[in-house]
């Protein structure tokens, strides 16, 4: 019997096989840190008199707390300032490379790794952050860890772990125009549920996945955690190699050839067996949005707000009823009728250059709906610079959007970018939990295309809603 991609990656990083029920010891190729989950880990090292074993496999960036305005001024919020200064001090003391606010390589940790060419196929990647699953798009085993584990990796460059189960997500067919990777993953989560992936590595396969760009694949893998999974994976192919080649840390010459030769072996064997398989037809998908307070509560944009009675399970009925109350929604209302106060384009899910380009193409030459705010936050400073070089900042500013510095921003509202109570947002981020974007805020997760069209009309919309009458709406 053959092996799955996840099993191959595990095998290739096995330092010690655990015996008698003890966990395996797995080697970590890349450890990324940010200011929120690392302070106690560094403190733990200091208390035990330990060093960072491999500073050359470690990198830090500031993202969760960073302001997106006036980044040259001192950070006003005390907690944020302390966390960021602590990271800077720790990086200095332990010799860890850091990209601070104002640096061209600063940004959301999951945007920065791939952009520098530090994320590659065949690696193990960890970070004290659940959306580390993003890096699985390269065919790397990438997963989030807790603070004790951060300390463990800093001290030993390994982790004691029990092997994950494997699940194949087969996305067949072709995506229709106007549907994106975001719609695929939201549909997957709606199908298997927010707990459906628990304990699994999800391997996304099939024609529709193969056709995606590298950045779109990152969007898919990013939200694996929203299905409860440990990690997401996509086997590397020419698209992957093309993306990595020439990046600052990409191998060169003979190293490149050796790497590609190995990377080509990183596929699930034809006769391998997954613990579970799920099928999805991409051609049936349309733009998908969430209506509730977890990412599994999603529907096609053409649908109406469901009633709790539509659900078979008692627990789902209760969850739906609670979500509707929190979201201030009435069953039967078409999703397209919902007025949106704030549109947020950004985050490690959809804050990359392709996302900005796609949204800019839609808003170019139009004007923003008067009562809707549009916040554009590039995923990294490099993405921002690239967008400015292409003139996208002008397109957004002319449209009426706010153009910001890079960071997590309104994805989790740890900085000043927050929703007010009962404000409704269409957000390209990954979590619509109660209060995630600000206390009492109401989040609808959407793709960048839906975000842009919504900013034009002021109600949840897809680009199709604009096609015939852009001028009339101005």
């Amino acid at each position: 019997m053959g092996t799955t991609l996840a099993e191959k990656l595990w095998r290739d990083h096995l330092v010690v096989k655990g015996e008698d029920g003890a966990p395996d010891l797995i080697y970590i190729d890349l450890h990324m840190c940010h200011e929120v989950t690392s302070p106690q880990a560094f403190e733990g090292l200091r208390l035990a008199g330990r060093q960072v074993r491999r500073p050359d496999l470690t990198i830090a960036t500031e993202d969760h707390n960073t302001p997106t305005l006036n980044i040259d001024l001192p950070i006003a919020d005390e907690t944020s300032r302390i966390q960021i200064n602590t990271l800077r001090d720790n990086a200095k003391e332990f010799g860890v490379r850091i990209h601070s606010l104002g640096d061209a390589d600063q940004g959301v940790v999951h945007v920065v790794g791939p952009q520098l060419g530090l994320t590659m196929p065949g690696m193990t990647v960890v970070c004290g952050d659940s959306h580390t699953s993003t890096h699985g798009a390269f065919g790397a085993l990438a997963f989030g860890i807790g603070t004790s584990e951060v300390e463990h990796v800093l001290a030993t460059q390994t982790l004691p772990l029990k092997e994950f189960k494997t699940m194949a997500i087969n996305v067949n067919g072709t995506l229709a125009k106007g549907t994106t990777a975001k719609d695929v993953i939201l549909a997957v989560i709606a199908k298997i549920g927010t707990g459906g992936g628990q304990g699994y590595v999800l391997e996304y396969r099939g024609e529709a996945i193969r056709a995606l760009s590298m950045e779109a694949r990152m969007t898919v893998c990013n939200m694996s955690i929203e299905a409860g999974a440990r990690a997401g994976l996509i086997a590397p192919d020419e698209t992957t190699f093309e993306y990595v080649k020439g990046r600052p840390h990409a191998p060169e010459g003979a190293d490149w050839d050796a790497a590609v030769e190995y990377w080509k072996t990183l596929v699930t064997d034809d006769d391998a067996v997954f613990d579970t398989e799920v099928d999805l037809d991409a051609s049936e998908l349309e733009p998908f949005v969430t209506w509730g307070t977890n990412p599994g509560q999603g529907l096609p944009l053409s649908a109406t707000i469901p009633s709790p009675d539509d659900f078979a399970e008692e627990s789902d009925r209760t969850a739906a009823a609670n979500a509707l109350t929190y979201m201030g929604l009435t069953p039967g209302t078409p999703l397209r009728d919902l007025h949106i106060d704030t549109v947020f384009l950004g985050s490690c899910t959809n804050g990359r250059i392709e996302d900005l380009r796609a949204a800019a193409a839609i808003v170019a030459g139009r004007s923003k709906a008067p009562n809707t705010r549009f916040l554009v936050v590039p995923g990294s400073a490099r993405v921002r610079l690239q967008a400015e070089a292409e003139g996208l900042d002008k397109v957004f500013l002319d449209f009426g959007a706010e153009w910001r510095n890079a960071g997590c921003s309104m994805c989790l509202g740890m900085n000043p970018d927050q929703l007010k109570p009962q404000e409704r947002s269409a957000s390209t981020s990954n979590r619509n939990f109660e209060g995630r974007q600000g206390k009492g805020g109401r989040t609808h997760l959407v793709s960048p295309l839906v975000a842009a069209a919504t900013a034009v009309r002021g109600t949840l919309s897809s680009p199709d809603d604009l096609e015939d009458a852009p001028a009339a709406l101005v």
């Binding site: 330092v15 010690v16 010891l25 080697y27 190729d29 890349l30 302070p39 106690q40 403190e43 733990g44 208390l47 035990a48 330990r50 500073p55 050359d56 496999l57 470690t58 990198i59 997106t68 305005l69 006036n70 980044i71 040259d72 001024l73 907690t79 302390i82 966390q83 490379r97 104002g102 640096d103 061209a104 390589d105 600063q106 520098l116 060419g117 530090l118 590659m120 603070t147 004790s148 300390e151 463990h152 001290a155 030993t156 460059q157 390994t158 004691p160 600052p248 840390h249 990409a250 191998p251 190293d255 490149w256 050796a258 790497a259 190995y262 400073a381 610079l385 153009w403 910001r404 510095n405």
Partner: protein, 212 residues
């Protein structure tokens, strides 16, 4: 982590069940960036009550907490264990613990011994009769002794061994350091390092300003 074979210290009766991690340490203390100094946060909500057991002078040096069933339920925050340790507790005894709390405790060198509720009641009685009385906990014999009374406790074999050897997860892994070094020697040349840092040409990032 320090080796523990036996521990003797003042027993503190906590006559409450279902003490969750929010009660052990409220969420507001999670914003801190330090690993130590959480002693003031332990049971913060109850500390204001003059009658609370930890506010009694006899228990000032308490190090063995004798608690009601289902101790440590709720969120998985590791801070709960740090707070108990920082305050000076080495042992918590209860008839039932939440799994994650017990797992975190074992990793951080806090002994969690399972004692039948019947015996917990006996311990409470003895401590009430003579506040400040000492309790001896022997990991070797798996017994708790308070005056004339000696009762058994349960603890996972693997956790007990680690506590007696004074091994946390990291020290355990470091015992395999040779294996790690040997593995590192086999890593492919193409695998990237973050140092020396490589990047695109440096560019200036202009601060965005609030819209006028």
């Amino acid at each position: 982590m320090e080796k523990i074979t036996t521990h003797t210290g003042v027993g503190v009766p906590l006559r409450r069940s279902n003490v969750d991690t929010d009660q052990i340490i409220p969420a507001v203390y999670l914003k801190r960036v330090t690993r130590t100094g959480f002693e003031d946060a332990l049971f913060a909500a109850w500390r204001g009550d003059a009658d609370f057991v930890l506010n009694q002078p006899e228990y000032a040096n308490g190090s063995v907490l004798v608690a009601g069933p289902d101790f440590g339920t709720g969120s998985s925050r590791e801070h709960a264990v740090w707070a108990l340790k920082d305050y000076g507790f080495t042992v918590v005894l209860a008839s039932r613990f939440a799994d994650i709390f017990r797992g975190n405790s074992g990793k951080q060198g806090l002994v969690t011994g399972i004692v039948s509720q019947e015996n917990i009641e006996l311990l409470w009685k003895m401590l009430d009769a003579e506040p400040g009385k000492q309790i001896t906990v022997s990991l070797e014999d798996r017994t708790v002794t308070c005056g004339e009374l000696t009762v058994p406790f349960e603890i996972d074999d693997y956790v007990r061994w680690r506590l007696m050897e004074g091994l946390d997860d990291i020290s355990l892994t470091l015992k395999r350091e040779e294996d790690i070094t040997a593995f590192e020697a086999t890593r492919d040349a193409w695998r990237p390092t973050t140092l020396p840092a490589k990047t695109e040409p440096k560019q200036q990032v202009v601060a965005a300003r609030p819209a006028q």
